[in-house]
């Protein structure tokens, strides 16, 4: 039993990681043909960092990812604070509405956002409003649920008396949030922000519909690449992106397990006293 489950785990990991491994391998290949490994080189990486167009795409993606993460994290945290203050019925209604963009097919979200922007553009009598701002709005929209879903459980776990204690000691409600509440829910905020960042970085479908010619992100442009033979420096780019995401995920896990451990300590202490 134990053995078979272990074997299955290994198989799953092979399926998940072999393609990425091949990609990484290809990025170090001297030959142009993916199928044969001719020799080892860092040239692809050097070429990548000389390609101004590609770097600009990367910069665009990073700008959108960072901005949408910041906006979504702030809005999402505020929303989560508001949701906890609602009554039971209202809360579950809001949560359903919050979850829809996550389960909605990206293509539907993308097309409906595009339609909305087109409509807004007509209303404002602008030729095309598609560009960085519409892209940002779209990314914030699909990032918000991740922030809310990560922050809410932290707020629920938090001892409500902590906020009361802060008020008791003279904090205004706003001060109480920044001096106490935010420290308690920080792991949730960070997890939500990291998730937003990765979601935003690799989004293609939604971005494809809401971006204009003036501001293109990496995934959208790469889609165009795939129509012609891919230059190996793109493999180098993918490998780098994979490594960045991997590092973010590891950081997230470390933060999560660290806070869980200190929480556990606290609870066992309280249990010991009782």
């Amino acid at each position: 039993m134990k053995k078979t489950s272990r074997v299955i785990t290994v198989i799953v990991f092979i399926f998940l990681y072999v393609p990425i491994f091949i990609l990484a391998l290809a990025s170090f290949n001297t030959g142009a043909d993916m199928a044969v490994f001719k020799g080892f080189t860092f040239n692809r990486y050097a070429e990548l960092f000389k390609d101004a167009a590609l770097l600009e795409l990367l910069r665009n993606s990073a700008i959108i990812a960072v901005l949408s993460t910041i906006v979504a994290t702030i809005l999402g945290t505020c929303a989560a604070m508001g949701i906890t203050k609602l009554g039971k019925k209202m809360r579950s209604a809001i949560m359903t509405v919050t979850n829809i963009p996550m389960t909605n097919p990206d293509i539907v979200t993308g097309v409906s956002l595009a339609l909305m922007f087109a409509f807004a553009g007509t209303m404002l009598r602008l030729n095309s409003i598609l560009g960085i701002w519409t892209l940002l709005i779209a990314h914030v929209t699909f990032n918000l649920p991740y922030v809310i879903l990560n922050v809410l459980p932290r707020l629920h776990q938090m001892d409500p008396n902590l906020t009361d204690a802060a008020l008791d000691l003279g904090c205004t409600p706003v001060q109480a949030f920044f001096k106490v509440t935010i420290h308690e829910i920080m792991p949730g905020i960070i997890a939500g922000a990291l998730m937003s960042f990765t979601m935003s970085l690799d989004d293609f479908v939604i971005s494809y519909f809401v971006t204009g010619a003036g501001f293109v992100t990496l995934p959208v442009e790469i889609y165009n690449y795939t129509k012609k033979p891919i230059h190996p420096k793109v493999f180098a780019l993918f490998t780098l992106m994979f490594i960045i995401i991997l590092i973010l995920m590891i950081v997230m896990n470390i933060i999560q397990s660290k806070t869980d451990r200190s929480k556990g300590k606290r609870f066992s202490k309280a249990g010991g006293v009782l």
Binding site: D164, A166, L169, H183, K265, K269, L274
Partner: protein, 371 residues
């Protein structure tokens, strides 16, 4: 000597139509130690939270120094709270927890340092400045919570079962400690507990509550010696409660006999509840007794024996240092001083009968209600 500092007027609290506080009227005198005492769920915490400003009453007024503070938010009230589970800030160390309120009010770090240092000393936590809160024992956390509140020099300190999580020894030490601190700093304490011994030992005034209503307000002695109704008589200490009738002032009939008593002011022939404390009963030879009965159960309690005696089918608890074995036939003598007469109430007949007495009754009382 003491002026009124806080007054609650016709306070009503409802949660979704469920009435948790029912017209509470209460006057709290300055610099006194007042205790709200009652069983779990009677509304003690709710009352405290309304005074602290964390809950808005459904109706009624709260006055502080004669001024209505219904509209004043918690952070503007000169009141600090020690919460039921301490609610210390886990991301701050002991020093920063205690300094929290002073920093908010914008004192200089120098002033803060001297006040926190002084406070640490008076709760015997010198040297713990940099300890993380979760690494402290329950008793230490509790003292940090008290220091964090007191360092702000509030006019009133609210304490919600602050000793609930401590073991018996530490609890008794802390009772003395709290009483000392209260007298030393000379401020008003409003203390919540469901432990009657704690209330009797510490308070200037006790407010006995049950199901959202105040049952009695008085000094510890007053409440113990002259309980207002069967609930109070039973909740504070042990009581034998009997049905009686007052034929006239200073006379009460029960068990078909008439006794002298010190109570008066009832209607002629009014039906009443009669309270006789188990430790006030003198056991005598059967021929000298007002009443005679048979011992049916005996439990050694250290200082005394809990002796259950059957009088004509009604069982009484008698606490005596004398040993009377099960089966012995004894008499008892009742002095007028030891008979207390109460008006009939909704609680009549619910308490004070030891017919179902078992040795476990004390353990049942001690069962923790907390989750």
């Amino acid at each position: 000597m003491a002026n009124e500092l806080i007054r609650l007027e016709n306070l009503v609290m409802e949660f979704g139509g469920n009435r948790v506080l029912d017209s509470i009227n209460l006057s709290i005198k300055d610099k006194t130690f007042m205790t709200l005492l009652g069983p779990s769920g009677c509304g003690k915490t709710t009352t405290l939270r309304i005074i602290g400003g964390f809950q808005v009453p459904t109706s009624g007024q709260i006055f502080f120094d004669g001024v209505s503070i219904n509209e004043v938010p918690a952070y503007k009230r000169q009141i600090n709270t020690v919460f039921q589970n301490y609610a210390l800030f886990p991301h701050l160390d002991v020093y920063d927890n205690i300094a929290f309120g002073l920093r908010i009010s914008g004192l200089s770090e120098k002033e803060i340092d001297s006040r926190v240092g002084h406070m640490l000393e008076s709760v015997s936590l010198k040297g713990f400045e940099n300890r993380k809160v979760p690494s402290l024992s329950g008793g230490q956390q509790q003292r940090v919570a008290i220091a964090r509140a007191l360092v702000n020099h509030p006019k009133v300190l609210l304490l919600d079962e602050p000793l609930g999580a401590l073991d018996l020894r530490l609890r008794q030490d802390m009772q003395n400690e709290l009483k000392r601190i209260q007298q030393e700093v000379g401020i008003t304490f409003v203390y919540v507990t469901h432990d009657q011994e704690e209330a009797l030992a510490m308070s200037d005034t006790i407010v006995v509550m049950d199901s959202g209503k105040i049952q009695q307000i008085g000094t510890p002695e007053g409440i113990y010696n002259e309980p207002a109704n069967a609930f109070v008589a039973d909740f504070i200490g042990e009581s034998n409660i009997l049905d009686g009738i007052m034929p006239a002032d200073y006379r009460v009939r029960f068990f078909g006999q008439e006794f002298k008593c010190v109570d008066h002011g009832f209607e002629p022939n009014e039906l009443v509840d009669v309270v006789i404390r188990p430790e006030d009963i003198d056991i005598v030879a059967p021929e000298q007794g007002n009443l005679c009965g048979t011992v049916t159960s005996l439990t050694f309690k250290g200082v005394h024996y809990d002796t259950i005696v059957d009088f004509k089918g009604f069982k009484w608890l008698i606490q005596t240092t004398e040993f009377h074995p099960v089966g012995s036939y004894i008499g008892i003598q009742l002095d007028p001083d030891n008979i207390h007469v109460m008006k009939k109430s909704e609680y009549s007949g619910l308490y004070g009968d030891y017919s179902s007495y078992s040795e476990e009754y004390e353990e049942l009382d001690e069962m923790p209600e907390e989750e």
